[in-house]
């Protein structure tokens, strides 16, 4: 029973364009939604998060949008840069559990 789904295993975007990574979830108890970025042979690193009381959070080139009614969130990266090439994981949690649940990940490739 997958609570978190990232339906695109991979995404290829041209440098300078917008990258949009999507995430769907089923558990309405999730309070916070985090995005992690992972390079090969390294551990994931925290990128950006959003609380369930908001619908948008922006940090530089990164913006996360949350649509609670659709149980959907997306990460926008603009403009995309070659260093953004990595695997991105969506990871929601609910305050009661304090435990992240990870999606399957999307491998983003930025082409020069």
């Amino acid at each position: 029973d997958q609570q978190v789904k990232q339906n695109s295993p991979s995404l290829s975007v041209q440098e300078g364009r917008i990258s949009i990574l999507n995430c769907d979830y089923t558990n309405s108890m999730f309070d916070y939604f985090l995005w992690y970025k992972k390079y090969p042979a390294e551990g994931p690193t925290f990128l950006i998060s959003i609380s369930s009381i908001k619908d948008k959070n922006e940090d530089g080139r990164f913006t996360v949008f949350l649509n609670k009614s659709a149980k959907h969130l997306s990460l926008h990266i603009v403009p995309s840069q070659p260093g953004d090439s990595a695997v991105y994981f969506c990871a929601p949690l609910w305050e009661g559990a304090q435990k992240l649940v990870f999606g399957q990940g999307t491998r983003l490739t930025i082409n020069p």
Binding site: P9, Y32, L34, A41, E42, G43, Q98, G103, Q104, G105
Partner: protein, 113 residues
């Protein structure tokens, strides 16, 4: 900076061996976690611990056990390694996931032959 250190980057073990994966964090975090990462499956939680000598099963605990004798150290044990346990193992720690999520180690790539 919080540092989570996993003792080995690469390990090769034989089927049936007992394997210990060690993880140490230096920021006095109470929460520690072990995940495995496999292609197409994302990160799956094996075990976690909210305090010393405390442990809870995650989503895929079968074939694994853990030990947390000290706050800073969380060990993952494969009692009898099998080839389906070949994977990337990631340790993480956190103080308050709501504030700053988890901090991960660099991972241990385990191959069981």
């Amino acid at each position: 900076d919080v540092k989570v250190t996993q003792s080995s980057r690469y390990l090769v073990k034989r089927t049936g061996e007992k394997v210990f994966l060690e993880c140490v964090q230096d920021m006095d975090h109470e929460n520690m976690f072990w995940y495995r990462q496999d292609p197409g499956l994302g990160l799956r939680l094996i075990y976690f611990s909210y305090d010393v000598k405390m442990k809870e099963k995650g989503d895929i605990p079968e074939g694994y056990s853990v030990s947390r004798e000290k706050k800073e150290r969380f060990s993952l044990i494969l009692e009898s390694a099998s080839t389906n346990q070949t994977s990337m193992y990631l340790c993480a720690s956190s103080l308050n996931p709501l504030v700053n999520g988890y901090t991960f180690g660099s991972g241990t790539r385990l191959t069981v032959v």
